[in-house]
Symmetry: C2
Subunit: 123 residues, 2 copies
């Protein structure tokens, strides 16, 4: 049997709020620091150049100018984005002569991408 709680109150001169809901939700949420990191992580995926790089590397390792050619963009732009991906530990590098090959460095990346694809492909 569920109890019904009247969750409504007037606080000072402020707006009506539902303090029980608010406090209950606050207790259930991940802490601020974690939510901030989560947003920062999604920010990395929230750019089409980086998404294209990531999806390309899901297939096979590629060097910088391969990616520039593939995405039809300048080498510098690609290189700047790769630095971000490297800093975020999403890609790793391997040198072979003058070329530097990039590949994915995280098993969760494909999970995230696939969850995102499932999301945009529905409805």
């Amino acid at each position: 049997m569920e109890k019904k709680i009247k969750d409504e109150v007037i606080i000072c001169d402020k707006q009506h709020v539902h303090p029980y809901s608010v406090e209950e939700t606050r207790a259930e949420m991940p802490d601020e620091e974690e939510l901030f990191s989560l947003a920062e992580a999604f920010k990395i995926f929230g750019d089409s150049t980086r998404i294209r790089i990531i999806c390309a590397l899901m297939h096979k390792e590629l060097c910088v100018c391969d990616l520039a050619e593939l995405l039809n963009m300048g080498q510098s732009a690609i290189s700047h984005q790769l630095r971000l991906l490297r800093t975020s530990r999403l890609v790793k590098t391997r040198r072979e002569g003058k070329s530097i090959f990039y590949s994915l460095d995280d098993e969760h990346i494909e999970l995230i991408i696939n969850a995102g694809l499932a999301h945009i492909r529905e409805e």
Copy 2:
């Protein structure tokens, strides 16, 4: 038995590239339009205010001023972000008197959030 292909070539006065890798990868990638939508979708998750709203609504529906109170932010800022989430079909609304209650409107959202959490919690 795998064939080894020498995937290296000089194109005009341009850089060295690995044309076989590039063409193979191009063929395997989702189309441009889909990758653009994917980036747009992740962009929504790439802001800590919106992530906090989404995580709050994962627990239970809340009205605008509940969210403002919970996140310690102005009503207008919350309302603007809710509009974005509404436009992106991530939340739905229900009116009850003067309050408008927001809740999640997509079964994939929790998948994406959980994939993201798994990602930031490792290493």
